[in-house]
Amino acid sequence: MIWPVSTPPEEPPQVFCDLFDGRSAAIRRVSVRVDGAAETLVLALPEGETLNWPLSSLRTVPDQADETRLVVTTTTRALARLEVADKGLVESIRKGARALKSKPPVRGRARVFGWAGAAVASVFVIVFVLVPVMADQLARVLPPAGEEALGTATLEQIQTALSEDFVPLDFCTSQDGDAAMDLMLERIGGKALDLPYPITVSVLDHPMVNAFALPGGQVVFFRGMLDTADNPDEIAAVLAHEIGHVAARDPTRIALRSAGSLGVLGLLFGDFAGGAVVLFLVEQMIQADYSREAEAAADAYGIALLQAADVDPGALGDLFQKLLDEFGDATGIAAHFMSHPALGDRIETARAAGEGMARTRQVIPDADWAALKAICD
């Protein structure tokens, strides 16, 4: 009987790798091989000791710049690093270790969500509670000169933000037009008010149908508003309403409020003091989302002014109605007023205030009205 020639199992050539044990910075040259049967990576240390890392416990360090090499670690010793450069060994490890690319379990997810909630809540509280409350308090004690400066600064921002090129939006002005506006202001008693600063009225050359008040007694009309109005009483009614806001210091409150919220929003959207935030401020001022009480108070103030001047307050109702019919419910001043559900009531109130009056007259003569309408030409 011939014994079969026993060939000894072929010893693969020894492959050496650098091992860092995670305890010291010393390099250890270890001889490494994959033991397919035992499903382990066998590391023979120079001192004679061998380490057996189960193949299933092997992990690679991801996103390596050098893709031909592997940096391997094991879940049993997370700090250890084995740098594998040998092509054959890299291949056999990739083949044998199934979980090579799996990620460590995520820890502390609850804590992240907790802080995320806290972040959202704190921003919410600051923007919607703390800042408005403080703004209301501070608006009461801001000296008049400060208010005027705040108004001027805000107006400049609005002029820049609304311009379509790089030139700030222009004011409309003409000798007769200015005189007509001045006359209107005087007629509705806007010059004899007990305010710390005089009311100033200006017209911005912009097609938006809107008007707004700024801190420090500034009332600003857009050209679109003058174009839309059919008679001077409607403009006078809007003017009286905005004077109501000025008297209640509503714009100051809004301006301070947005100054506070501004930076916070910039922080969240990664646009620290950037352009988008200024746009937001402008939006805030123009659309001036005053509370329903503030609007009602401004209405009442305006109606009283008009009544005292023998001007029909019903004009305010007419104008609202016209804007509603013309623009539907989502543009310019209509949106501003639509945001308050009681718009119908407000139209009614204005008209009712007019019906009770024995004698009304147009706020300024037709010739002045024509000059005012042409102020932007």
């Binding site: 995670g22 704190s122 921003v123 301070l256 922080l267």
Partner: protein, 376 residues
């Protein structure tokens, strides 16, 4: 890689950026191999997100309330908002240095080499006020004390840095850096003389022209100073018996910046032009209009789908720019600094032992929230 992650970042309203940064850092770190062994970055995106939230909670309060009060005080006392802007800006400066130090501490605590962690001792507030003082000195002395600032702040940072249980040390003195400032000083003197002369002659054009010419010269001298001081400071850094030697070359660094940014701008510009043409073509097509200027009036506002395409193109251009910057500027710069850095006395590395993990809960949240624009 940078492209794909940039797109993901945009799609997730910027929240993916924490994951993006982590992956980019892993890549960059692994590409630096002192002695043939790559650095490893082990930061966790979730802890960065957490740090960002913590910073938002604190900063939202600071920015919301403090800015409101500043605004109020400024308008009541000074009748204008300039004072508020200045105060608010000045108020953020110490926070900025604080955040820088904390971010460095976090990044080094998550960096390993040869399996051993780096680490930085706490000291962010100490750093913040020192930085304020030295910056004030440097600017107040008309840049004469600039080298003092560079050296002292570097010393503060390095002396608190550890590799395993080995503390680093910054030696040398500010005098070693003075020579590097000479080009900047010469440029400043020339500007001063020419502008002063032009001012006397009321020649505004000459003054403006000089200033315009001086900006690139100043930028180049600044690059020269920073590379040279990097070299000088590296040569005087030690960690026990380990020393460093850098052969970084200023012309090379400046060249990479010029060439890299130049090429990146050109390529991004081409991409932007191509993208806008594509968008215009879509716009014309959607209106069934002829592709000519005469038909411009017939165009209607783009529909929702087309607007979405427009936004996508807009952001894509930024993503392309960021990716090109990585390839053409950041990576070459890092490569140059890494290739020219030599570590001496490496045999004493054998004795260095591991250090404990620095938990550092806020990670680099402040730096994230304040948008400190480090490259990565």
């Amino acid at each position: 890689m940078a492209m794909g992650m940039g797109i993901l970042s945009v799609l997730t309203l910027g929240f993916y950026r924490f994951w993006m940064k982590t992956r980019l850092r892993r890549y960059y770190w692994s590409s630096i191999k002192p002695g043939g062994h790559p650095l490893e970055y082990v930061g966790d995106p979730l802890e960065k997100l957490l740090g960002f939230f913590i910073a938002v909670v604190i900063l939202a309060f600071y920015i919301g309330i403090v800015n409101l009060i500043l605004m109020f005080v400024s308008f009541s006392l000074f009748d204008g908002n300039t004072a508020a802007y200045i105060a608010s800006f000045v108020g953020v400066i110490p926070l900025w240095f604080y955040a820088r130090y904390r971010a460095r501490r976090y990044v080094l605590a998550r960096t390993r080499w040869r399996g051993i962690r780096f680490g930085v001792d706490p000291g962010a507030w100490g750093y913040a006020w020192r930085a304020l003082v030295y910056w004030a000195l440097a600017l107040g002395s008309g840049t004469l004390l600039w080298p003092l600032m560079t050296h002292r702040l570097e010393k503060f940072r390095i002396d608190r840095t550890w590799y395993g249980d080995r503390q680093l040390h910054q030696g040398g003195s500010a005098r070693d850096l003075v020579k590097g400032m000479v080009p900047i000083w010469l440029t400043l003197i020339v500007i001063g003389l020419v502008v002063g002369n032009a001012y006397n002659l009321e020649d505004v054009e000459a003054a403006l022209g000089t200033l315009l010419l001086a900006v690139p010269v100043l930028a180049i001298s600044w690059g020269w100073y920073s590379v040279r001081s990097f070299r000088v400071l590296a040569a005087t850094k030690t960690a026990g018996t380990i020393g460093f030697r850098s052969a970084a070359r200023a012309p090379r660094v400046i060249g990479i910046y010029l060439f890299g940014y130049g090429l990146a701008s050109i390529l991004t510009g081409i991409a932007a032009i191509a993208a806008s043409l594509l968008f215009a073509a879509l716009l014309f097509a959607s209106n069934d209009a002829q592709f000519s200027l005469d038909d411009l009036d017939n165009l209607s506002a783009p529909g929702l789908a087309l607007q979405a395409v427009g936004f996508a193109i807009y952001f894509l251009v930024f993503v392309i720019w960021a990716a090109l910057r990585h390839i053409l500027v950041t990576l070459p710069i890092w490569r140059h600094y890494a290739e020219t850095l030599e570590i001496t006395g490496a045999q004493s590395l054998l004795g260095i032992q591991q250090r404990d993990r620095d938990e550092h809960r806020e990670a680099e949240g402040f730096a994230e929230a304040l948008d400190l624009g480090a490259a990565i």
